[in-house]
């Protein structure tokens, strides 16, 4: 797996490093395909996840009809939290993508990496382009500081509040007017919050608060705060911001009128709002109506966010743009236009994916559906106060950095609002500074990486040549012939790239850029790692997990193996059943266990509730999240169990009988005879288990994304974040090498001590 990481870190250098013919210059008058050869337009889409894909196909067919000889290939990047990263993988891997969607919060980082085509010149050259057909305030989110437009919206989502009208009516409360205020929110929330089942904990709330950075910004803006100051510094530590966060914290933890179930990770599960147990839910976009339309039990509607000192809201948006890897930029531009055209826009509006960016579509019945009881026009009303997060800053990264801190204030209440904001600002500014600092470093030059890649095969070849001609080694030459397939793979795909990654760990490089852009950082990276609080948290969490999981896994695997070793009619069936979870994809396991461990509706807590016990909120409680992963890991000990089973079957039954004759009871037979005989297998499982524990990734990636706070940010998850979310391949390589060193050291220590407790003596002759 380490090797896999190193390889992943090197996916880019292994590829050919020219931007191919697609390097964008002036509009070239479109595709000029060689006769007969069809032009393939590759489009990365996220719509497959939604019913909107049908419209996408419709647009595609029409586009192909209008452009004979062009074939549009739709590539799905659908999926949960990893879908954003998929685009980066594609760009890093130099896949020739012609059109892709990106999230507006990452626009600035894509600009900074210079991976997007400036489409302004295409718009200027397009006689049929009328900018005024789109919401100006929305197009603003896709423009750079010069006002150049880079793409067109799929749909956008101003943040609003969802209101349960029936619940308010039940409590004799009128639905607030559109210009309602924070005070109104607090007042109503206090009236609605109840402990219905009398267990001392509220189960009906005034408001279910969403808590990711973009959902928090409206509160900041309403309070007169700002995200960036005039010097481009992240200003999360200014008083207006702190006050806004403190207000939210008080709703959650002092007034206790807000529920914290609406974290980002919870978006896919059934929420309190759907259960009808909360009056307001938000700030959140139009996308929730897609599933809320299923609600039968109560009436609900949209409301603008309550006002603070002023009205304001944020806009979430995904838009289609053209990456620099595009082979056919003109065609790509035309396809972006088609995607933002009436067919697609009306279609997306209809299925509840978001507000169409095309004004005519947004004002049409397709969006302002008169047949629904809800007031869709609220989304258009709030556009006046709608803002995007300022560009020049990679908000996706800052969101990730600050999420843990904001969670500590809002979710866990372990930090004051002021402290959380201060630390978030400091971390963000440090990261901005670092970005600036990296730019001042000298580029390393691609030659070094190529040399590193070439060095290993050369050294290996030299060693072989020196070694082989000797006569006495003829047999060895034959051996090498058989070893060649492995040796070639090892040298070129493993050792070479590993050396490159060692070099990368001493530099910094964004995988979506050319390797020429790598900057030499030297040991700075390692020094930074040593002082990185997230790395420390990560290390602590990983060690805690390993310490807990590995011994328990061994015990459970051995216990199961001993149970399943006994002859029984169902033996084969039982063995299969216990092994089965081990072959399930960790992603599927993760999705399944997220449900099992859900605090309110999960299988475990439902079971406990049936017994009259109240289970913890497994994945959201900082003291339970690692044990949850441990518990889950015990479910997949099948492979270890199988190895133990093989060991048990290799045991000499006479030895156990001899021990019985010698007066050893069950436990002492186990300790004195079985365990020592299994010790080599125990050692194997221990080391493999330890390595696996250090590499846990897919489950937390699917289930918690590292939260709450950093309580499940395992090392490899952090490594992934650095490499593919923040595009810091150098720092990620540093992490990979430190991880490798730690695992190697631990393995060495275990192997050394194993001489005392591992018995290799075979069965006597």
């Amino acid at each position: 797996m380490i090797a896999g990481l190193v390889l992943a870190a090197l996916a880019a250098p292994a590829a050919e490093y020219t931007w191919s013919a697609a390097k964008v210059g002036a509009p070239s008058g479109g595709a000029s395909p060689a006769a007969q050869e069809p032009v393939v337009l590759r489009v990365m889409t996220h719509e497959r996840w939604f019913a909107g894909f049908a419209y996408m196909e419709q647009v595609t067919e029409q586009f192909e009809r209008e452009h004979p000889g062009v074939k549009v290939e739709l590539i799905s990047s659908s999926g949960g939290s990893g879908s954003r990263d998929k685009i980066k993988f594609a760009l890093a891997g130099d896949l020739p993508i012609d059109v892709t969607w990106i999230d507006v919060t990452e626009f600035s980082s894509f600009l900074e990496e210079e991976v997007l085509v400036d489409l302004q010149q295409y718009f200027d050259a397009d006689a049929e382009w009328h900018e005024e057909e789109y919401f100006a305030s929305i197009l603003a989110g896709m423009k750079d500081t010069r006002g150049h437009l880079y793409g067109l919206p799929s749909t956008f989502n101003p943040y609003v509040m969802y209101v349960n009208r029936s619940l308010l009516a039940e409590h004799g409360i009128a639905v607030p007017a559109d210009d309602w205020t924070w005070d109104d929110l607090l007042r109503i929330a206090r009236q609605v919050t109840r402990d219905l089942d009398g267990d001392g904990r509220s189960d009906q709330f005034g408001v279910s608060l969403t808590q990711w950075l973009q959902a928090i910004t409206p509160w900041i803006w309403q309070n007169g705060g700002r995200l960036l100051d005039e010097n481009g510094r992240v200003a999360l530590d200014e008083p207006a911001t702190i006050e806004a966060v403190a207000f939210l914290q008080s709703l959650l933890h002092e007034e206790k009128v807000a529920s914290d179930d609406a974290t980002f990770a919870n978006q896919l599960s059934v929420s309190l709002f759907q259960a009808g147990r909360v009056a307001f839910y938000g700030p959140v976009g139009f996308w929730e109506s897609y599933r809320f339309r299923e609600i039968q039990d109560f009436e609900w509607d949209y409301l603008p966010l309550p006002r603070g000192k002023q009205a304001a809201t944020a806009v979430a948006m995904r838009f289609y743009c053209v990456p620099r890897t595009a082979r056919h930029p003109q065609l790509a531009y035309e396809f972006v236009r088609a995607l933002a055209g009436p067919v697609m826009q009306r279609g997306l509006a209809q299925i509840g994916n978001g507000v169409p960016g095309l004004i005519s579509a947004a004002r049409s019945d397709a969006f302002l559906d008169p047949d629904t009881p809800q007031r869709e026009e609220v989304f258009l009303q709030v556009l006046d106060g709608a803002r995007f997060m300022p560009i020049r800053v990679n908000w996706a990264e800052i969101q990730d950095q600050s999420a843990a801190l904001l969670e500590q204030a809002l979710l866990l209440n372990t930090l004051s609002a002021e402290e959380a904001c201060r630390r978030a600002a400091a971390a963000a500014n440090e990261s901005l500074q670092r970005r600036a600092q990296i730019r001042t470093r000298a580029p390393l030059g691609k030659g070094w990486f190529l040399a590193a890649q070439a060095l290993v095969p050369l050294l290996f070849a030299a060693w072989l040549l020196l070694r082989l001609p000797r006569r006495s080694r003829r047999g060895e030459r034959h051996a090498w012939m058989f070893l060649a397939p492995w040796a070639i793979g090892f040298v070129f795909l493993l050792a070479g790239p590993a050396l490159v990654s060692a070099l990368l760990s001493l530099s910094e490089w964004s995988p979506v850029q050319d390797l020429d852009q790598a900057r030499w950082m030297g040991l700075d990276q390692y020094r930074r790692l040593a002082a990185d609080p997230t790395f420390h948290a990560s290390l602590r969490v990983t060690l805690y997990y390993a310490l807990l999981a590995v011994p328990l896994q061994l015990a459970v695997a051995l216990g199961l193996a001993m149970l399943l070793q006994r002859p029984a009619r169902t033996q084969g069936f039982a063995r299969t059943v216990f092994y089965l979870p081990a072959i399930l994809s960790p992603v599927i396991l993760g999705a399944m266990w997220r449900w099992i461990l859900d605090g309110d509706l999960g299988a475990i807590n439902s079971g406990l509730a049936w017994l009259g016990l109240r289970g913890p909120d497994w994945l959201k409680d900082p003291s339970w999240v690692v044990p949850s992963f441990v518990l889950m890991s015990l479910w997949t000990v099948g492979a270890q169990m199988l190895v133990f089973l093989a060991g048990l079957q290799g045991l000499d039954p006479r030895q156990i009988e001899a021990a019985r004759m010698d007066g050893a009871g069950r436990w002492r037979r186990f300790v004195h005879v079985i365990l020592p005989a299994l010790s080599p297998i125990l050692l194997f499982n221990l080391i493999v288990g330890l390595i696996n524990a250090f590499q846990i990734f897919a489950q937390p990636f699917v289930m918690t994304q590292g939260g709450p706070g950093n309580e499940s940010r395992f090392l490899v998850l952090y490594l992934y974040d650095q490499a593919f979310r923040y595009l810091r391949m150098g720092y990620a390589s540093t992490l990979a090498w430190v991880l490798l060193a730690m695992v190697a050291l631990l393995t060495l220590v275990i192997l050394r001590t194993s001489r005392r407790w591992v018995h290799y003596a075979g069965r006597p002759r």
């Binding site: 000499d652 030895q655 004759m661 007066g663 004195h672 010790s679 018995h759 003596a761 006597p764």
Partner: protein, 334 residues
């Protein structure tokens, strides 16, 4: 030491009756050998005595008390396994001391007793070695030491010599005999090897199909086999068995009997006519295979008889050396 008694002891695995209502008395200090072909149930009897198998019916009594409800470790019985079953991760010292440690004996006593046992078997020098560093014979001695260190009432041996070479087997046989004399312990020894059975046992019990065919001193069993199975099983080469009708000798019960004689007790020049088929020279004796009509007999003669294949011979056996068995039941006739 104690006497051992099996009463109507039975055991079956599935449909297969392995031990069939066996009665057996072993007196205090006796060396009894259970002998029989493989699959005759002899090892199962041993395991039933040890408590490693649960009896279907019947009783096992040691020193006059039933031990059926006791765990193997509580029966005061020690067993030496065919493959020795030494604990490979323990040194010789710890292997020998293991039963004493399990009995929570004081450390000093454990040490003294295991060293004493090791000395008795001449492996005092090997105490710090692991079993994998020992030869087969040395491992055998460790297994013996581990059994005798407990000073059990009954020793059980499950074909302990079947895994060692012929020379060592002879040596260990003598060693076991000496050990029995020295300890005077009750020992039950399972083997399929009739030489071991004849040389080691105070008495031997011949088993066939889960039943005891005959119990007696080696000479009794050899000289006066209780049935044709025992007659054919013991002795090398085995006893010749012919239908009475095929022989010229008088038959007390008419044609319904089988007449047997041992190859060593036949002479040349008698009235049983045949032709030599094969001659095997073994040095001390010469085995002459003779075909008499439909039947083959083997004679053990002193070398130098000058017979060759194809030669007609007559075979003579003196009347006292002739054994008569019922043709159907195989039971010895008076």
């Amino acid at each position: 030491m104690a006497a051992l008694e099996l009463r109507r002891l039975s055991k079956s695995f599935g449909d297969h009756q392995v031990v069939d209502a066996i009665d057996l008395q072993v007196t205090d200090g006796e060396f009894l050998v259970l002998v029989g072909a493989s699959g005759c149930g002899k090892s199962t009897i041993l395991r039933l005595i040890a408590g490693l198998e649960k009896a279907d019916a019947g009783d096992v009594r040691i020193g006059g008390h039933s031990v059926l409800d006791r765990d193997p470790g509580d029966r005061d019985v020690a067993m030496v396994f065919q493959n020795y079953a030494l604990y490979p991760h323990m040194t010789v010292r710890r292997n020998i001391a293991f039963p004493l440690r399990m009995a929570r004996m004081p450390r000093e006593q454990v040490r003294a007793r295991s060293e004493e046992a090791a000395a008795m078997l001449g492996i005092g020098e090997l105490l710090e070695r692991k079993p994998s560093q020992l030869s087969g014979g040395q491992q055998q001695r460790v297994a013996l030491a581990r059994a005798l260190v407990r000073r059990p009432q009954v020793f059980l041996f499950d074909e302990p010599l079947s895994n060692v070479d012929a020379r060592l087997r002879a040596e260990m046989r003598a060693e076991l005999a000496r050990l029995h004399q020295r300890l005077g312990a009750t020992m039950i020894y399972v083997t399929h090897d009739q030489v071991e059975a004849m040389t080691l046992g105070d008495r031997i019990a011949v088993l066939h199909q889960g039943r005891v065919q005959q119990v007696g001193t080696p000479l009794e069993v050899y000289n006066c086999p209780a049935n044709s199975f025992v007659a054919a099983f013991l002795g090398s080469p085995p006893m010749n068995l012919l239908p009475a009708a095929a022989t010229p000798w008088a038959d007390p019960l008419g044609a319904n009997a089988v007449i047997g004689f041992r190859p060593q007790q036949a002479r040349l020049g008698g009235s049983l006519q045949g032709r030599v088929e094969l001659v095997e020279e073994l040095g001390s004796e010469s085995l002459v295979h003779v075909r008499c009509g439909d039947h083959a007999v083997v004679l053990s003669l002193t070398p130098g008889h000058g017979l060759g294949p194809g030669e007609p011979v007559g075979v003579a056996v003196e009347a006292p050396h002739l054994h008569h068995f019922d043709r159907d039941s195989g039971v010895r006739l008076p």
